[in-house]
Amino acid sequence: MSIFSFFRAAPKASAVQAKERLQIVMAHERVGRSGPDYLPMLQQELLAVIAKYVDIDDNKVEVKLDRGGDCSTLEVNIELPSRDQIKAPVGKDMPVSKPANGSAKGEDKDPPKAASALTNGGVSKRR
């Protein structure tokens, strides 16, 4: 132990780190085990709705899940095609199940399995 280490800021106590890590990991594990995992479905349906109006390129859909301590964010980035490619809005007479431009591309996407949380990480909350 050198004399200089006395002046350095004390590192965060390991017990504090233990608590923080536990709170984060367990908030997500609890969400994952309670109830059905709706996130993949949500993603598929969101994409299907957008595909109804816009021709989405599957390669230009980016889904990101960021797990934080207090809240998690689900980020869906869809790159829209240039203006002339945008479809006309679907009218009432059009069958909803069949979008104007072929199949809804979102539907055959395989959603990431890890994506299981879209909620606040209420640690003290138990189902």
Binding site: A13, S14, A15, V16, A18, K19, R21, L22, Q23, V25, M26, E29, R30, R33, S34, V123, S124, K125, R126, R127
Partner: protein
């Protein structure tokens, strides 16, 4: 009707068997007729901790299979009245535990005993599931350490979804935390999770804090439940926990470090 208590944790080596032995002995000391059952089929150890390993003739699995009568398999404790041990098999595996078989034995025991303490094996597989399935009360044995806390949370999830009470929509299994191997000095140095940290994370009521104590190993060496070592901190902490379990208000002890004099501080430095 006897009450069924499960000592469970998910993680191994946190003190389930030590706590089961101590708790069952504590309940018997209070005058309740108590039996403690080893659910760790294939890895029998409760008999050693209770000091009755040389008196085991038949076991839990023999009774389930109808190879022995329940009364033949129950081992009466030599030190404490009202205390019985139902050891498990060392040769069979956990598949020998059938839900119907376990239920039949527990029903039979609950006619005769006030408390049935189920010493769960580690893990969340068959043995552990059978130990907790019929429980009325669960004591979650946890060390102040990340993997133990996480596993305890997992086992709480299992209790809330896979126990008989959960499946039948009955009143849920009561859940209480028994924090073992607690070292107040390391907590003060910021090296160990505090009681309050664990309580905040697991969000269940606290039954007791058992301090890290050399008495635990000493007791298991000689096959005596540590609760009978009334001079030890751990023994006293278990006695307190049993009191709390029975609804008494007992203040928590051994949760803060003993104030040390200058002399012992200096000694510690050089040690």
């Amino acid at each position: 009707m006897g009450k069924i208590i499960v000592m469970t944790s998910g993680k191994g080596g946190v003190g389930k068997t030590t706590s089961s032995a101590a708790f069952a002995t504590g309940l018997a000391l209070r005058g309740f007729k108590t039996v403690v059952i080893d659910f760790d089929v294939g890895l029998r150890n409760l008999d050693l901790v209770m000091g009755c390993e040389r008196r085991v003739v038949f076991d839990f699995i023999n009774v389930i299979n109808g190879e022995a009568k329940l009364n033949q398999a129950l081992v009466k404790d030599k030190r404490v009245d009202n205390l019985y041990i139902l050891p498990t098999s060392q040769t069979r595996d956990k598949d020998a535990l059938t839900k119907e078989g376990v239920e039949r034995i527990l029903n039979e025991l609950s006619k005769e005993f006030d408390y049935i303490v189920c010493d769960s094996p580690a893990g969340i597989e068959r043995g552990a599931l059978m130990a907790l399935y019929f429980a009325d009360h669960a004591v979650i044995v946890t060390n102040p350490e990340v993997s133990s806390v996480r596993d305890s949370d997992r086992i709480l999830g299992v209790l809330n979804s896979k126990s008989r009470r959960a499946e039948k929509g009955l009143e849920p299994v009561t859940q209480q935390l028994l924090l073992t191997r607690y070292d107040p000095e390391r907590v003060e140095r910021g090296e160990m999770l505090k009681v309050d940290d664990v309580l905040e994370i697991l969000a269940i009521p606290l039954l007791g804090v058992i301090p890290e104590s050399q008495a635990v190993l000493r007791a298991s060496n000689i096959g005596m439940p540590v609760i009978l070592d009334e001079n030890s901190n751990a023994g006293q902490a278990y006695l307190d926990a049993v009191g709390r379990f029975l609804g008494e208000e007992v203040e928590h002890r051994f949760t803060s470090a003993q104030k040390k004099g200058l002399f012992s501080r200096l000694l510690r430095r050089t040690a």
